[in-house]
Point group: C2
Chain length 418, copies 2
């Protein structure tokens, strides 16, 4: 009886080299976000199927790994449909479990509550290069903070982290769902078509302004609305002045606090930032999930085509789950993409431990072995990594293998103290 | 539509206080085992159902969380039995995935390979206090090292870790499966009854020598064998002399290298140890799993009734899985028990970061806010944890909540620079 050697479809084994980077990044995340006052929490990987299928997960709900009922609850002969056999599943994100967690423990948690979650999620996506069916998500969320201090702290924490991981010259794009809607309204699009308009607008960086115009026209929107809408984008600069310009144009229909807050976030982040990046106003930024209610943001990096993270305010979501309103704002970074980029760069972990290999001859007498063990103990105590191995016949091959593992120094011990 | 607020049966949400301890212990594990040359690896939580049901998991195979096939593979109408619906499951331990991992990647790994795995496993056990259906396992294994250097390094690494976590006065009990068998043979028990004899012997610490004698008699074993067997235990001292005594008695049927190796391990560990513990020879130590082939060991701690960890040599297991023999030896510590003990002790994490709370009045002018953010940035850079919150009406309650989270210092900022 032999095993299936490959991992299950779409999931991966992680080799030591990648694990070193992953552990380094995870520690940096805990350390950096910890300094901003975020507390680590954890929820089970398995979640009630009712919670996973509550319509907050959008397309992800189609990708759930479902878990069979156990014992007496499993009645195979009576089962008509899948739901008769299933009572739980693997989580597809960390936001649904966070909502459940907060509903279950709000009395034991401070308000506002700043949560850091790192954990695996599972999606039965079509397997493809660089995308896996089990992957790590890393979210920070501030629950119960209505002011834009939440946005400022989320963006500062995330960008400080990226800077510490040696990412530079990236861009934080920011927009607001309320402003997005007001612009569509101002241009004369009907409210019920906003989502269609935004899906097309979201393609701006791929198909350009002409492409967007063509698609909007194809959908049958009035020429006048399209011109007014796209004309406005030409005039808007990607800075505080651009936000102010929008505020002016939309003053009849948009609460001035929206643009004021956007400007506060942009100014504060720019003044207090520790990393080398730009924060820009991008009135075409949409972000997929429909649950956002206020500011939204995304990280763009030249090295990586698509986004390496994003987030926004979702003041109405937790209440839908829990029954009591809780404002919330979150920022998620693409952990797997960041690890991939560092691996591709051949990233050297700063101040990695010095690695030393002891090769000892076979059948070393007990008293000599003790000496060697004590010597190793002293070096380990002094902060070195010491790997003791029995010397092999093919010593060259053994050393080559260990060199590939990062061992640079070899000490050989022989029975006769040569 | 409201959520189910509780986690699924038998699994738990982890609050910030426990997470701090868990993260601390995990870092200590990676750091300590890393210094001994163990490399972190990871396998997917989901495993092929064939691998999980390969008879190596014993009773655990009855406790698998099974995952439904997806898409076109799921043919509900044709399903006769559970196995028609299932193609994978959640792993119940880390040893089966390690075997698969090693089979899949042996060419990319050094030999011997020293692996560290920390990861969740799932068992649909009957829920009970302190035992959960999702829990963390922490294993170190040395694959491909036939000499007792493996046992020595495993015991030294594990005990060094426990010492660093402030555990003292514990005991490592050690025995050898080959010696266990030789003693039963020497006493005249038939080979096919060894397992029955060992199951009864394993109860020695609970029912005493009279209890063991009574149970053996009840099973119908010869009075003479029982007397000879139990008589021997009375004479054996829990030290190297005891091992030597066994070697003498059993010299006709036991390879002398078995007792020589046991003595080497005990002496070397005792001489090179960094923590405050005893290593003793316990000829009644059995350990449950049938796959052990050589030395076995267990950690006993007075604070905690049962074992907090154990392991042994299992030279024949990986070959059964992979088709090619690979000697192996592992040590697993009870991560959840260790965390529980530290929590119960009210363990203070050494050199935890200083926690400072900034309470800022609402509607702070932008320029003041910038000053505050910069001040926070400087303190964070200097290693402090700074949590900025908007001051609430009930400031006393807010401070009490934050004090409970470990914040000791509060700085208040007002609009008018009072």
């Amino acid at each position: 009886m032999t095993l299936k050697k490959k991992p299950v479809t779409g999931m991966k084994d992680i080799l030591p080299r990648e694990m070193e980077i992953r552990n380094y990044v995870m520690n940096m995340i805990r350390d950096t976000y910890g300094a901003f006052g975020f507390s680590s929490i954890e929820t089970p990987c398995v979640e009630h199927i009712e919670n996973l299928c509550s319509k907050q997960g959008g397309e992800n709900e189609k990708l759930i790994f479902k878990i069979l009922k156990r014992g007496e609850k499993l009645k195979l002969e009576d089962a008509r449909e899948e739901s008769d056999l299933v009572d739980s599943g693997l989580r597809y994100d960390l936001t649904v479990p966070l909502s459940r967690y907060y509903a279950n423990h709000a009395n034991e948690l401070p308000s506002p509550f700043k949560a850091l979650q790192m954990g695996n999620v599972w999606r039965a996506d079509r397997p493809q290069r660089g995308r896996f069916r089990q992957f790590m998500q890393c979210d920070i969320d501030i629950l119960g903070e209505p002011t834009c201090l939440a946005e400022i702290e989320l963006v500062l924490a995330t960008t400080t982290l990226l800077g510490k991981l040696d990412f530079h010259n990236f861009t934080i794009r920011i927009n607001d769902r309320k402003l997005l809607k007001a612009m569509a309204q101002y241009s004369g699009f009907p409210a019920e078509s906003f989502d269609t308009v935004f899906i097309i607008l979201d393609k701006m960086d791929k198909i350009g302004v002409e492409g967007v115009a063509a698609e909007l026209e194809k959908e049958g929107f009035a020429r006048e609305s399209i011109d007014r809408y796209l004309g406005m984008f030409q005039e808007i600069t990607p800075d505080a002045a651009g936000v102010r310009f929008c505020g002016e144009k939309l003053r009849e229909i948009l609460d001035p606090s929206v643009t004021e807050d956007l400007i506060t976030v942009m100014t504060a982040v720019d003044a207090a930032k520790t990393a080398d990046f730009r924060i820009v106003f991008d009135p075409t930024l949409v972000r997929g999930m429909s649950y956002y209610t206020g500011p939204i943001f995304e990280i763009s990096m030249d090295e990586f085509g698509s986004s390496v993270g994003g987030g926004g305010r979702y003041d109405e979501m937790i209440g839908k789950f829990t029954g009591s309103d809780t404002c919330a704002c979150g920022f998620s970074i693409g952990f797997e993409r960041i690890v991939m980029l560092l691996l591709e760069r051949g990233y050297e972990i700063p101040s990695g431990r010095e690695k030393k290999a002891y090769l000892i001859e076979k059948n070393m007498p007990a008293d000599r072995l003790l000496e060697i063990l004590k010597q190793a103990e002293e070096e380990r105590r002094a902060g070195k990594q010491v790997c003791i191995s029995i010397m092999k016949k093919n010593k060259k091959f053994q050393k080559d293998q260990m060199t590939a593992e990062g061992y640079r120094e070899f000490v050989e011990f022989f029975r006769d103290k040569r």
